[in-house]
Subunit: 277 residues, 2 copies
């Protein structure tokens, strides 16, 4: 089925068809639920959360697509241990990379022959690239599309908001005040562009020392819940920090498949239930 390897330049240079917005709309019609994972600040574990939510939903038997619109720092393939380049099918649509029977992935990473190369694109090109990630990709029928967005309120989430009016935002934060100030901006963004906010997840919330078993508040705790409460937004839950999660991400191993009884795994299963419910 896969015939032509897609080259990185193509996504930027390719002349779009007669109506690329219409192509995107047709792709989206076959996808039931769309979630964009956002954060105000970088490094709060947004990509980790996207990957683990997608895995938890796929484990429950849903058909899940994971779309990495963090064009400058596309970490999803690495985190899932997926390599290989994107290919195009007979209809010239790109074929998402399969991770399992229920989960497939699109990422800029899979268009780059050299993964150390930087994507130095200004906003309008990014808009076109993201539209192609929707309209020029053969996603097929999906129950869930999980969109991992770069931090902030710039071109990438704005493009998603414009192209996918029924997208739900999941806002990820860590508990410290500086991060919370930035998620209040994410909330303001969603309200401005009329995107529904599904809820807030507090990540890296508390840490247990592996040597003495005592609790250490690396970044504080409880701030995400407080912000959710004062903003009138559902609080979805708290995910503790675990250095083993960092190790799993680094080695391309799915944390929840290795640590099936971890509080982190259980937290993601509960989150998946909320998204499906």
């Amino acid at each position: 089925m896969a015939k032509h390897t897609v080259k990185p330049g193509q996504i930027a240079d390719r002349m779009p068809g007669p109506d690329p917005d219409e192509e995107a709309r047709q792709s989206l019609e076959r996808i039931t639920h769309k979630f964009i994972i956002m954060s105000g600040k970088g490094g709060v574990g947004k990509t980790s959360v996207s990957v683990n939510l997608a895995l938890a939903l796929a484990d429950k038997g849903y058909r899940v697509g994971l779309m990495d619109v963090d064009l400058h720092g596309p970490d999803i393939p690495h985190m899932l241990g997926v390599s290989g380049m994107l290919t195009a099918d007979d209809t010239k649509k790109m074929v998402p990379i399969p991770y399992s029977d229920h989960l497939k992935i699109i990422s800029m990473e899979s268009l780059m022959p050299n993964r150390d190369e930087a994507i130095i694109w200004r906003g309008p090109v990014k808009h076109a690239a993201i539209r192609q990630f929707i309209g020029d990709v053969n996603w097929g029928n999906l129950d869930f599309l999980i969109i991992d967005s770069p931090p902030g309120t710039g071109d990438e989430p704005l493009t998603v908001a414009q192209l996918i009016p029924d997208a739900n935002a999941v806002i990820v934060t860590t508990p410290q005040e500086v991060a919370l100030a930035d998620i209040r901006k994410s909330i303001s963004f969603c309200r401005n562009v009329r995107m529904k906010i599904f809820g807030i997840i507090e990540n890296m919330s508390g840490f247990t020392c592996p040597h003495c078993g005592k609790a250490v508040d690396l970044f504080g705790t409880g701030g995400g819940e407080k912000t959710a409460l004062t903003s009138g937004i559902p609080f979805l839950g708290r995910i503790p920090f675990d250095p083993q999660m960092v190790q799993c991400s680094d080695s391309g191993m799915a944390f929840q498949q290795k640590f099936t009884q971890s509080p982190i795994t259980l937290a993601f299963q509960q989150l998946a239930d909320k998204m499906a419910g």
Copy 2:
């Protein structure tokens, strides 16, 4: 001297003068050293590093300007406990907010009457805003301009590279592999736009449990140095993780003024010496 309060819309809507690039050039001529603090991935402590480098240089008696070009998540004023709005002087230039005799600050935050509001700007507007942060600001004579850039290789660092051809890049990373993959993109970016790389800083490198005193590798350790070595880039040093740094940032307190003998404070003093040397 300060007469007119600058409103947030002005920075986006204001028609530029006859040659805004020339205005920026004139501002830059009065600044000896320019450093852009970059990172491939968010949340590696880039803003923390920018603030602490600026403080360390100012403590040594240098005249320092700190420019926050992270338009979507401008955290510098909060981290330094600085509030108040930007004003314009008689020549209609914006006046940077003074933190001390030797340190002044420009940030999008100081243009927003409501700090929870999101800046929803596409790339070209961001380019114009950053150019105004240079050319329309009365920086005066400075020894150092420290530029805190958002993560990634998008519009903001690209604009800095174009407007400030003699800027030096300091790349901040945490030690885990996913972060390192992204700084290799920052390195590729700098080489593409011919920006000189001053070196790499490894942040959040190691952590000592406050209860039992044992070392915990939150994000691993040593990866930044290894990447520097293999890329032929100077390794500037390692900064340990300390939850008190998070608390200081949250409460707007300068860590190195409170913890004068901390390994973190000493690390920043050494880094400042390298930058001045």
